[in-house]
Amino acid sequence: MSARIFISRDSGALCVGADALATKFRKAFEQRSLDVEIVRTGSRGMYWLEPLVEVATGQGRVGYGPVQAADIDALLDAGMLEGKMHGLCIGEVDEYPWLKSQTRLTFKNCGIVDPRSFEDYRAHGGYQGLAKALAVGPEVTIEEVVASGLRGRGGAGFPTGIKWRTVAQTPPQQKYIVCNADEGDSGTFADRMIMEGDPFVLIEGMTIAGIAVGATYGYIYIRSEYPDAIEAMEIAVGEARKGGMLGRKIAGSQYDFDMEVRAGAGAYVCGEETSLLESLEGKRGEVRAKPPLPAHIGLFGQPTVINNVLSLATVPIIMSEGGAFYRDFGMGKSRGTMPIQLAGNIKHGGLYETAFGITLGELVDAIGGGTRSGRPVRAVQVGGPLGAYFPRELFDTPFDYEAFAARDGLIGHGGIVVFDDTVDMAKQARFAMEFCAIESCGKCTPCRIGSTRGVELVDKILAGEDRVENLIVLEDLCNTMKFGSLCALGGFTPYPVMSALIHFPGDFGAKRKRLEAAE
C-alpha cells in the first residue's frame, strides 16, 4: 500500500505556500522513487502551523509544520513517511492539545476529508443527518432543530428552528433555502473554512432545510473575495448532484432539491439578509424594512429560509446525533458550540470550536497565546467591524450571546481580533465610522449620513475642536444610528465607536492634552 500524506488546499494554507509545497513534495517523491499519494484536504484551523503536512500512520495522522520547501529532504531523511520525529513534528494531530481541547461538532470533518470527494464525505459519516431527516419526516426534523437550541451563527442569534417552522407553516408554494456565505466581517473565516474544507456538510444542511420546510431550491451566496470557496462549492455541488444527493428524488426519496452558487460583488452590506436577497434578485443590495420577514416574503417574494453557513453546516450533526446531544453543550440560552475565530495580532491564529461559556481571557491569552508581536494585549474587537472593543478588564466575559450583550458588546459571527498596545483606539473608532460610510447601502438616513458625520466628529475631537461638546454630539449621533437605522450596519457601528470611547477615553483626548501642555 502506498503511503499517504495530507496537505491543505484551504486558502489559509495556500496563502503561505501550500500549493508550491505540494508540488515540491511530488517532485521529491519522484526523485526518490517513492509511491506516495498526496491528498489535498481543508485546514485543521491551526494556521500558525500551515503549511501543515500530515502523514497517515498506524497510530493516526502525524503532523509536521510549518513546512517549507527547504525542509522536505530533511523530513524525508528523518522518516517522515513513517511518522518519525523531527523538529517540525507536532505528533499525532488529533492529540495536539490545541485541537484536542476543542469540541468539534460543526468542524468535525474539516481538515480531515478531501473536500472534492463525495465518497470521502460519505466514508466519514456524511449524509447520516439527511438519512435521519428522511426517516423522521419534516415536522420532527424541525422540532429536532428547535430542540437543539441552535441560534443563527451569522451574528443575529435568532433560533434557527423557529425560522424554519415559520417557513414550513406558510402554504405550499415555491420556497427557497438561501445560504448566507457573505462572510465580510474582519476577523472571521469559519464559513470560508467550511466551504473550502467540508463543503458537502453545508450542502447536506441545506438539503435537510429544504426537505423540512418544503423548499425545492437553494442558493449559496458567496462573497466574491472568496474565489477558492466559490470554486470548492461549485465542485461539491456538481459531485453531490452526480451522487444523486441533489436534483430530483434525492437519495431515492420523494423529495426534490437542487441548488446553485452565486457570487457577490464586493458589498459588505449584502451580508445583511434582506440586502442579500435583493442582491440575489439582481438589484442594488439595499436593505428591506421588516416586516415582512423573509420567512413570509423572501427571495422573489416567496417564503425563504435564510441561514448562515455555520448554522446550516451544524444541522447534519444535530440530526444524526439528536437535538438533545447538541443542546447539552453550552450555557444559558447559548446552546451547543461556537466556532470561534482568533485573528489579528495573535500568536496562535485559527479556528477554535468550543462550547459556549469559555471566557474571552482564556481565548485570547491561553488559547491564542497573546500577541504575535509579543507586546501586551490592549484591546480585542469581538464580532467583526460592528462589534465592540473590549479592554483587558472585561476579559472575564464568558463567550455567550447574552453575556456579551450585557456588556454592550456582541459575539456576532465569532471573530476575535487582537490588538497590541500600539493601537490608537480613536483611529479605530474613526475607521468604524468610515467603513460604515463606505459600505452603507444608502437606504436609511442615520446610517448613510450619520456615518459621514461620525468621521467628521472624530476628526474634530482629535483636532481638539470643541472637544467636550463634540463628544456629546458623537454620543448623541451614536444613539441616533443605533435606534434609527434599518439594519445592523448603521445600528451596530456605534458599538466599536462607543466602546473605544468608554474604555479608552485617553486616546480621544491625547492631542488636546498635548495642545494644553503647549499653551
Binding site: G184, P227, G266, L280, G282, G285, G349
Partner: protein, 157 residues
C-alpha cells in the same frame, strides 16, 4: 498578452444570452461581462436592460452599487491589500503605505505603464494570517516588508 477582449456588442449579447435564463440574472451577467472585457462597459448597460426587460436606470443602479464592477479595465495585474481591522492590527497600514510608495500610486490607481492596479479590500478571510493580500486570484498571508516587496515585484514583472 492582453487579458481582456476589446468591447464588442455581439460578443456582449452572446454572454448575456448565455445567462439570461437564470433567476435574478443581473449579477451573473455583469460578472461574466467583466470577466471578458475587464469591466462593465457603459455600452453594455442598455443591452443587459433590454435582455432582462428592465430599465437602463435599474441596471446602471445595480452596476454602480457594487464595488466589484469597474468602469475601465484594470492593469495587467490587480494587487489587493486587505485594509480591515485584523490586518490593521498586524501592521497592514504600514504595508499599504509601502506598496503605494513602491508602485508610485495611491490605493485605487493603476501604474502609468498599466502593469499594476492597487486596491484596498475589506477582508479576504485570512485574518488568522494577517496581513493578507491577493494578487489576481492568488492569496498571500503573514506579509512582512520583504514578502510585500516580493509581491510588488511579481506584480510588476
Amino acid at each position: 498578452m492582453p487579458r481582456y477582449e476589446p468591447w464588442n456588442a455581439d460578443r456582449a449579447s452572446e454572454i448575456i444570452a448565455r445567462h439570461r435564463h437564470l433567476e435574478g440574472a443581473t449579477l451573473p451577467i455583469l460578472h461574466a461581462l467583466q470577466e471578458t472585457f475587464g469591466c462593465v462597459p457603459e455600452a453594455a448597460v442598455p443591452l443587459v436592460a433590454e435582455a432582462l426587460n428592465l430599465s437602463r436606470a435599474e441596471i446602471h443602479g445595480t452596476v454602480t452599487f457594487y464595488h466589484d464592477f469597474r468602469k475601465q479595465p484594470p492593469g495587467r495585474r490587480v494587487l489587493k491589500l486587505c485594509r480591515a481591522e485584523s490586518c490593521q492590527a498586524a501592521g497592514g497600514d504600514a504595508l499599504a503605505v509601502r506598496a503605494e510608495e513602491k508602485l508610485g500610486i495611491q490605493m485605487g490607481e493603476t501604474t502609468l505603464d498599466n502593469r499594476v492596479t492597487l486596491e484596498p479590500v475589506y477582508c479576504l478571510g485570512l485574518c488568522h494570517s494577517s496581513p493578507a493580500a491577493m494578487l489576481d486570484k492568488h492569496v498571500f498571508g503573514m506579509l512582512d516588508e520583504a514578502k510585500l516587496d516580493a509581491l510588488v515585484k511579481e506584480a510588476q514583472a
